[in-house]
Assembly symmetry: D2
Homo-oligomer: 428 residues x 4
């Protein structure tokens, strides 16, 4: 049985690769649509075991010819003119890219490539050589899913049930507990916006959820309470981005989130001119793990972003915190220990400010700070859920999006500098 | 005055280039949208004289570094693995492409790039170095305007007046003489389909006009007669593509026409299953000029596609035809000289079959034959307009699209073989 | 407290009636829109206790003047010409109708009148004098909600969640158990169509649910089983109308259901030409109650529709059935007693055929038979739910819609004749 | 030939009337849709000569029964209760109305009735007995085309060409000279709004044209000059209704214009809050004819609306004006005679103020004044076109719509009082 399967898979893989070579060799474009259509159909029914064979071959057989590239590079180095450059680019781009572009021309091509990348990413660990296939896919998908081609749409209770069902399924941060919960998140003081691509018109790519509130919130529970009453419009002063979820793993690495947040902020500012504040209420998913790793806060390996007295105060706090077991730190009871909470908050500030620009830094912090947001406030007990206690010891962060200062913060972050409020500064 | 202008232009060009460098150097993506927006705005108001400065710099300053490329090519030649390839592609792609991709992300970016290419193409003659800029633009635009991203829409009398106005303006083959003429071309036995891009939703990119007839037509006049009565649907047996016009010069070289023709043919076949025949009624715009050049039909320089007796018969016909002046050949009176017309038709067949695969071949023939159509019939007096007589001596051609044989014909054409009907064969 | 309330109500009612008189007395139309708007607003916030006052006055004060009517009727009787008729209609139409027409002109007017009638119907029992108000409302609403003005739309999983929520709420025959149940009823082998009015664009007025099956079904459970797999399209041979629900009590008496069924049948016939059979699977809601009433099947009070031997056989069946208590007849155990079931089915046939044209006849039977359907089959144990056993002793009926014979059946029904199949005939 | 025609017509008319009787006698509604559909089809192909036969019969055979009506009226006079009233309305409404309502239920019914009324109105002169048919049609059409059911849409250059073509065709006040002229009237400083009915979705019923200007205009020519440049939005202070045209003669007498003007004014006020003034620029189509009739301005037959000195001044002006022939008064040269123009303007003011509430008054004045507008200004030489000189001696009027005072003016007009500005007052 297994033998037959593997034989069938190999045969299916060979057919796909045969069509791929034929499509790529096609000199004109007239016929390519038919070939691409055939290839898309074959890929749609390819058995799971056949994919690794296809990926191996895509990685091995669709690369530039090293000798040709070398000759073209030498010619270009000798005479760096237009002709030499045209000759160089003609031979140095991996033929895989042209293959993918031709696939993308036919109906269903874009969806097929996105799904293929999903599979590729699933198996990337352990297949280092597939990385060049992934690089080409990411390069092209970034070009095709650029924000200029995306459509932002508000999702509300008038949206098709089929779309809402996908939202329930893909919410990754604060799970949606059925239709009644979703409905609450679409009442006037909650908003949901998603990006769509014309080629995948019914599939949200990424979406963000917003709460409209009188001021910056310090805890997540009231925002996602499904039995709460909606606030009157006159009270909206702050727009809180409390959840952002990718729906399409095949687009990992394609920048969508920061464009979505900014376009939504501009949209809300136009619709509700009285909004004064745009911020997040975010977890610190890397905090507890970092703490368990007993980071060096003083001494030669210490975090470089801290001044000496700050580092010493943090080291003392760390020592006190380490008297508690991991389990104790993650238990609800810990929230009542005020001194402990103050220490944790100090350490979280250290973690976010000094570690974020470095490997092992918090991914959520990196996302927002790179977007140009400012670290505004750390909230003790902001997320008392089991997951919140385990990952962040209950702490939540407000990142502030000051639309006028986003650029400056972003550029500073590029230099390794973190923007934070005076309030956060005093925590150090 | 001129001095001031040139100084202003130089300054504006410098600003554009400054923003371009800044946009390209931007490490993250968070800020790029704002910068790209600024650049798009600046480009929108750039004085005409400033563009050549910008193009010169785009051609000179945004190229790969020859030394870096050479090193990467050598490394890749030494060890052709994934890492070496990633390093190579990172340095060999012209940075211009990344610049254009970043521009394309912002609202209005696509339109700005298309308009920029229009200007570039206008000045390309005389600026050979700009060709590498054009190559990069064409490369990206082909990727972004691939048929998978385009939407085909039928244009009819219910379409917005603003769109119809553009159709009147852009019809390049058989000019539309005002709204009444257009209206006739949108009655049920005439159809018009266009391609649109989501980023340019109100601008047709290319459109094709179709007549639905009982059989293959031999003259254009009845098809574009604005006072004609529409035929009843039951009589539609043949779909005639009688005009195809590009609307956007900035997309020259991006394949649109062949995809449009095929998608329309499939659409019509579904809507009207009784259609039996898809063909064109096309001019031979290069024929008269080729004839004036007194082509060698026999001897060492003769066209290689002809057998000896064919070439001799053609040479005799050419000799007879050359007794008439160019003006005489292009006069309506010539249409009554049957012997002359027979000679012209024989020569046109020779021209289309033997010359099309070669430089100087007819562009319309090349377009359809490369698409996989077959040269079906030559019609004497098919176009008796002044332009028709001057360019094609009144001859018109039917190219037949046999949907089942398109692939075979196209592949044969790739090998230099022309598909023609038995009827055309006998003309040789 | 109560005194204040009743005083407030009386005052609010007086305001409404004052505006009504003013609106009606308005000679031109220029101002009526503003007045109607004011009246609509007032009616929107009228306290519940004020409505009876308003209805009393609407019934008493907006009637034709008897003396005027009499004079006009005498004049028309003397000289029955156009002038006399115009004079007659001018005074004999209740001014209420003009009042309602003027209300209907303003934004929200239609919805206000529909809601007002809902309230009126709620209180009609015990207020005989309100019937003339109801008659005028029904007369006008029938004119405004005529099927020519209604839009039929298919409701599916792409419909807005807000609409689907209303469907769940209003399904009156076979309750929808949440979103998953609804979703099953919208898969391709189930259909749902609703009528909408342009003035109430987001409110379904009535909807019908259809199952597409290989043949005529004899039990409801498989049709509404939410975990069932959808059937493949090739198997659809019969369209079963298994549920029809009104959403708007304020439109009671306005014919909607029969128009909807016929429009849906035509729509499905066009979409799925292979459909051979349109029928219902319906309850007999009046059967058990009729049986309890011990109807006279022979003797002087017997049902007139039966021949002597039929009546005698039925009387014997009735006698046997009456040995069982009502509770026993409605218990699931009764379904296993084949002889009893045969008796019940015979009696149901008698009930439907002989009683339907008379008072106390089954309302569902009357609806479908008046529509021109034929009584096709009685199914033992078709509905084994508690409600089904209690009301119909588990029996269900198929009414057949033979589109070619609907007119004939309807006209016969007008004469008191019931159309039934040979199979049903043998049951007598 | 004529004999055959008249025989055919009579036969077709008989068929229509037969179907009408059958449709009306139909007791249930189940079948009425099919019958109504047949009748609509027959009416669609009825020969022109058959219509008078149909109208004669509609007027004669579908009336209430005088004896029945008399009995019901006597019973209602004796006991004026609900039952008696229900019985009365059941017999006194002309059965024609129910016939038309049933026709209206079927697809195409509304359009058929509107077209039928168009024919009826064409022949009404000379057929006094048809007036009762017209009364019933107008009664029902007023109910079905009430403004609550109408949709107001802006028409602009993005509207379908098919719709714009109808606008060109129906503009009745200032003819549109082709597509370029229309295009100018749709640029941002010109607006066009129309009413549509859901049952006739592609046919405008009535439309109004607006110019957005810095102030109240005194001449029409600049407003309809097709080569004029559009004004910048910042300059819009006044919205001028310069043309209003009915498209559907079959709706004559159904109030549409005043509702449209008011809805447009509210719409513009919301869109452009800086608009300070809503007015018309209107002709006085009845003025020249009234003048030719040598109206009595003093003496026993004098217009009652004038004070003695006003009447005397007007009589003197009239005497001076009557020294000029009608042709001289309508010639462009007359515009240079300032004294004459002052006299004409005085007389126009008299005509509008004193004659409008009476028979022979100006229809345009009656329309706007009844709507609640105020007579604001008379402009000498406002319309120098041939038609303008002939009908109004070049005078044009501004009627002012002061949204806050519309109701008061309208109510005063109902009492016979004309609202006019102080400026107009001084003309008397």
């Amino acid at each position: 049985m297994a033998i037959v399967d593997s034989w069938t898979s190999a045969r299916a893989a060979r057919q796909v690769l045969g069509l791929a070579h034929k499509l790529l060799s096609e000199r004109g474009q007239a016929n390519s649509l038919g070939l691409a259509g055939d290839l898309i159909e074959k890929m749609g029914t390819l058995p799971a075991q056949a994919w690794p064979i296809v990926f191996d071959k895509l990685a091995a057989d669709f690369n530039p010819d090293p000798a040709q590239v070398l000759r073209a590079a030498q010619a270009y180095a000798a005479t760096p003119d237009g002709d030499a450059l045209l000759a160089l680019t003609a031979v140095s781009e991996p033929p895989r890219q042209e293959l993918f572009r031709r696939l993308n021309r036919a109906p269903g091509g874009t969806a097929t490539l996105v799904r293929m990348r999903r599979r590729l990413l699933d198996g990337l660990k352990g297949h280092d050589d597939w990385r060049i296939v992934d690089a080409d896919l990411l390069h092209l998908l970034s070009s095709w899913f650029n924000p200029g081609f995306l459509e932002m749409r508000q999702v509300d209770w008038n949206s098709p049930a089929r779309l809402l069902e996908q939202i329930i399924h893909h919410e990754a941060v604060h799970a949606i507990d059925g239709w009644d919960d979703l409905r609450r998140r679409l009442l006037p003081d909650r908003r949901l916006f998603a990006f769509f691509h014309p080629q995948l018109p019914n599939e949200p790519l990424i979406f963000v959820e917003i709460a409209l509130l009188p001021d910056m919130p310090d805890a997540i529970a009231p925002l996602i309470e499904k039995r709460s009453d909606p606030m009157p419009p006159a009270s909206y002063k702050a727009a809180i981005f409390y959840s952002i979820s990718n729906c399409e793993p095949g687009l990992r690495g394609v920048s969508l989130g920061n464009f979505l947040i900014k376009r939504v902020a501009e949209h809300l500012q136009r619709e509700l001119p009285r909004l004064k504040l745009f911020c997040t209420l975010s977890p610190i998913p890397g905090f507890a793990a970092w703490l368990q790793g007993a980071p060096a806060l003083t001494g030669p390996d210490a975090l470089p972003g801290l001044k000496r007295p700050q580092a010493e105060r943090a080291a003392q706090a760390l020592e006190r915190v380490r008297h508690h077991s991991a389990a104790a730190l993650a238990s609800p009871a810990a929230l009542s220990d005020e001194a402990l909470q103050a220490d944790l908050r100090r350490l979280a500030a250290v973690y976010l400010i000094a570690q974020t620009p470095r490997p092992g830094g918090d991914p959520v912090a990196r996302f927002h700070l790179d977007n140009g947001a400012r670290l505004e406030r750390l909230n003790i007990g902001g997320d008392r859920s089991a997951k919140g206690l385990r990952q962040s010891h209950g702490l939540m962060v407000n990142y502030l999006y000051d639309l006028d200062r986003i650029e400056g913060h972003h550029e500073a972050f590029m230099q390794g500098e973190i923007a934070f409020s005076r309030g956060v500064g005093t925590l150090l």
